[in-house]
Structure formats: structure tokens, C-alpha cells
Homo-oligomer: 307 residues x 2
């Protein structure tokens, strides 16, 4: 099944307790694409970059089977830039610089060739921009997932509520779920959020794993305990890309298959954080991924006969 990815492509400059980078390639769509590409090469992209974005990355995308016809390149402008610093607790970060540049007036174009989109992953962007992509597609995809963040809840809640009515699956973190619902306990938060549109909700808890809610069913997967978390940038996008890539590959939206998708997404995210930026994802082999999924099986597997 074909997967359309929408989101930012950008430069990041990252500082963690383990080191710092110059400007490296980042952005939600970048991580989502590399991650989903482990599962499917029937992929399409909608994004915008400036003339400063490396042409060889775009060429590499094409090699990987990603249709970049929907990627706008504004030669005389600059790409989105974000700079941030992580502390020992990698769940928290300070934003040092945000330069919107080309993202400031991003008006997504759906190329005429993008007719057969089955799965749609809307990476974090202004909710009205995300909604415009749904509205501009010639037919509704069979599965629409959306990532967002607290920033949009602060300044564009009505826009967010509007697009939420049109999606199947919302992917946010625990603090965002609390803010969006006004409920502290995640089970209650999930009920309220699923009353706002999506029938599926994935709550990411960083090093504490992820929860999947679908109708009245719940599934939990831990994050693998790693010896080093080098750089968490992009882990959430990599997770989302793994989930949507796996779903597009298997074309099965049952709860049982969604569980598997969450485990594959978590495994992908566990690779992402082991090096700076996209370094691990670019090189990753499918066999390494299968080995890591086996680690997830081993870490949660137990055998109880309930009487």
C-alpha cells in the first residue's frame, strides 16, 4: 500500500550531554521517511525546503523509492532551522533557536500523480496545513495518522480540533495528552481525546514506552532499556514512521496488527537515539531490526496461567 508522508524537512543543531553537532539534516518528514522506508518503498512526500537543503539527500530519497514530486524547493529561501539542548533527563529539552524560514508560509501542493494514497502520515505542522493536505487529496486515504505538539494546543486549538475530526489515529506524548484532555490519568485522557475524533490514540512516553488505545482496548509496549541514549531528536517521528510504514506494508488495521506496528515503531525509535540525528536510520539493516524486535519480545514475554 502507498504511504504519503507530510512534514518538515529541516536543519537541526543539537547539544546533548554526549556532544554537539553543527547543522545536520532533520525534520519530522525526514525521520518518518527513513523509518517507514524500512517497511515500504511505495512512498510519497509532501514538504518544503530552501535552496540550502542538500540535493544528495533528495537524490537518496528517490533511490529509496520515495516519490518527491510533492517536495517544493524554494531555491532563494532557507530551510527550517531548529536548535536545542538536552539535559541528563533526555525527556526534557530547551529550544535555543527556531527559524521558520520556508515553513512560515508553507502551502502544501498535492501533485496530480498522488492519486492512490492509501496511508497518510501527517507529521507535526500547523494543524490548518495538515488539514489542507487531507482536503486536497482526490480521495480519502484508508488510514490517516497525525502527530502534533503542545505548541499548537497553545495557539491553534480550534484548528487542531478541526483536523482531529478527519483523522483515524492521533500520535502524541503523555504531557500533550494531558494538556489536550485536561485529564492527568492517561486512561481518562484517552477516552476524552477519542471523543474528539480519532478512534485510535497512541501516547508516547519516551523512555517509559508507548500506549495504544483503540476503542475500549489498551496495549502497552516499553521502550528498550538502552545503555546509551545519545540523542533523542527525531525518536517520536521515527516511532510514528515505523508504525505507519508497518501498517502500510501489512495493510491490516486490526488491533492485533496495530500492536505489532507499535512494537516495530518502538524498535525503530530505539535505533534512532543511539547516534546523532538520522545517522543510525540511514544505515539500518532489516536484520538488525528483526533482532531488536526479538529483544522486545523477550523483555515483555511472560507465561501465567490465570485461574
Amino acid at each position: 500500500m502507498s504511504l504519503l508522508v507530510v512534514g518538515s524537512m529541516a536543519f537541526d543543531a543539537i547539544e546533548t550531554p554526549y556532544g554537539k553537532t553543527d547543522k545536520i539534516v532533520g525534520g519530522a518528514a525526514t525521520y518518518i521517511c527513513y523509518s517507514a522506508n524500512q517497511f515500504t518503498n511505495d512512498m510519497k512526500l509532501i514538504a518544503v525546503v530552501g535552496g540550502d537543503f542538500p540535493k544528495e539527500i533528495i537524490a537518496d530519497y528517490k533511490t529509496r523509492g520515495i516519490n518527491t514530486e510533492g517536495l517544493q524547493i524554494k531555491e532563494n529561501e532557507k530551510s527550517f532551522f531548529w536548535s536545542g539542548k538536552y539535559h541528563d533527563n533526555m525527556n526534557q529539552r530547551d529550544t535555543l533557536v527556531t527559524e521558520l524560514n520556508v515553513l512560515g508560509d508553507f502551502d502544501p501542493i498535492v501533485p496530480e500523480s498522488y492519486t492512490d494514497v492509501d496511508y497518510l502520515m501527517l507529521g507535526n505542522l500547523q494543524p490548518a496545513v495538515q488539514e489542507s493536505v487531507i482536503d486536497r487529496l482526490p480521495k480519502r486515504p484508508k488510514f490517516i495518522a497525525l502527530d502534533t505538539m503542545n505548541f499548537w494546543m497553545d495557539i491553534a486549538m480550534e484548528e487542531l480540533k478541526s483536523v482531529m475530526k478527519k483523522i483515524d489515529c492521533l500520535i502524541i506524548n503523555d504531557e500533550e495528552a494531558r494538556q489536550l484532555s485536561g485529564e492527568y490519568h492517561l486512561k481518562l485522557a484517552a477516552k476524552k481525546i477519542m471523543g474528539m475524533g480519532p478512534n485510535t490514540l497512541i501516547i508516547k512516553k519516551g523512555e517509559h514506552g508507548a500506549l495504544l488505545f483503540k476503542e475500549d482496548k489498551i496495549f502497552f509496549t516499553p521502550a528498550l532499556p538502552l545503555e546509551v541514549v545519545f540523542d533523542p531528536t527525531g525518536a517520536g517521528d521515527t516511532f510514528a514512521g515505523g508504525v505507519c510504514g508497518y501498517l502500510a506494508q501489512t495493510d491490516d488495521l486490526s488491533f492485533e496488527n496495530m500492536k505489532r506496528a507499535i512494537v516495530y515503531g518502538s524498535a525503530m525509535a530505539s535505533f534512532c537515539v543511539e547516534k546523532f540525528g538520522t545517522e543510525m536510520l540511514v544505515e539500518l539493516k532489516r536484520s538488525d531490526l528483526e533482532d531488536r524486535v526479538q529483544e522486545f519480545v523477550d523483555i515483555v514475554n511472560f507465561d501465567i496461567l490465570v485461574s
Copy 2:
């Protein structure tokens, strides 16, 4: 197999976002005993209380098959008292009052009848007091578990290191594991801590579940997502009591059985937090426990064929 429980028996006064209590019965040994008692009634107790401690609680212990010969009652003194307040994030609390009273010079007495102790659970106490119980037992139990806290790491680290050399299993929370090891990532922390004595380490992460490390193997169980966490007091002790009670009942220290023990401990803790103090534990039926364990099975169970 017989289980000896050592720890505080006390009064607590608790304030949470959901309400507050007057002085109610609490203390590590109290929670551990009620929890372990779901699994075994071959139990012994070592603790100290003042003349103010309710005689009907002690009578109830005897009814439940708990040998209280090792419980010292100092009629003219007062029981340990703790008062605390929880905020929205139930993982954090402020201590308002700590009155050591009888616990200040607690010198545990091992009655002559306590000869056949197979399993020993040392609840949180001064490490030298915990060690004295091990040293005073006529023969070493086949399994010794110990709970401790950051307070003892601050003021009695050498005592703690000494008793850690004599135990099989350490049960602490994530922040304590970080403090004890000097390592942020829990997998590294676990390696260091297991180099200090215990071959098994359980790291409690509150609402984020628990990790079991034994030699080079790891197991993770989540906490159940609950709609209400009413009062987390005693959840850690209830967890530990469930783990040790299940191990004493099954008398199987294999990694596979320890996994089951962690799941039963987590299920017990999930009941504890649903009402104030020991209220849920006192009334709990085994059939309710089995239903809840089934919820744990359902929430983590998935089926992947790794290629």
C-alpha cells in the same frame, strides 16, 4: 515456604488531590504483610510498635496466620508516625512530619521459634537494623530481598553497602537506582548495583512499571493504566510483598517464575493505590487479583513472528 517480614508498622496521615486522612495504620511491614498474605499464610513478623497501635490489627494478623511473636509492643511509647502530601504527579510527595518514636532505637528480636525462615523480606529500615536481622537468624534464608531508600544512601551508604553483600534481591525505585550507581541509564545502573552484591535487582518506576534484572536477563512489566490513583502510599511495599509472597508460595526462584512474581506484585500495587491506606488490601479477594493479572496479560500480550 515460610516468609519473614521485617519493617515499620506505623501511623500515616496522608493528603492527596482526592482528599485527606486522619492518622491511619501504615508502615512498610503492614503493606508487605497484607500483600504477601494473599499468597501465603505461613508468615512471621519482626517489627516494633507503641502502646497506641490498635490491638485489633495485631489480632487480625494472627487470624491471617501471621506469627507476631517477633512484634515488640512498647506500651509506654508511641508508634512511628509519618505525614505526607501528594501533588497531581503522584510520583512526587512532600513529607510534612516524621516522628520516629519507637523506631528510633529499634533493636529487632528474633524469637527462638523463628528457626525455619525460607524467604526474608526486609522492608525499608536503617540498613544496620536490616543487617542485624540477617545476622541473628539461626540459618540463612534461601532468598533475602531488601527495600531501601535515598535517605539511607545519603546518611548510611557504608551500612547499606554492607547489608547489600548479604542479600539476593534489591528492590528500589529508578531515582534510587541512579543515586546508588551514579549512572543515569537504568541498564548501566543495574550492572553496577548487581556488582555490589545482589544477583537480582528490581527497579520500580511507579506509574511507568517495573524492571527485573537477573544476571544478564531483563524483564519489564508496565503499571496498569488506572482511571484513578487515589493514594500511592504503600504501593512500593505492596509490590514487594506481592513479589515475595508469590515466590514463597511457589518456591521457584527461576527467572521465568520471578517474572510472574513481578506481575503479581504489580497487580497487588494497582489495588493498593485505588483507596486510602490499606483499605483495598484488607478486603481483597483472590478472584479479583486473578482478574487483574489477566488485565496485565492482555495489555502486554502481542504476537510477532520475528523472521
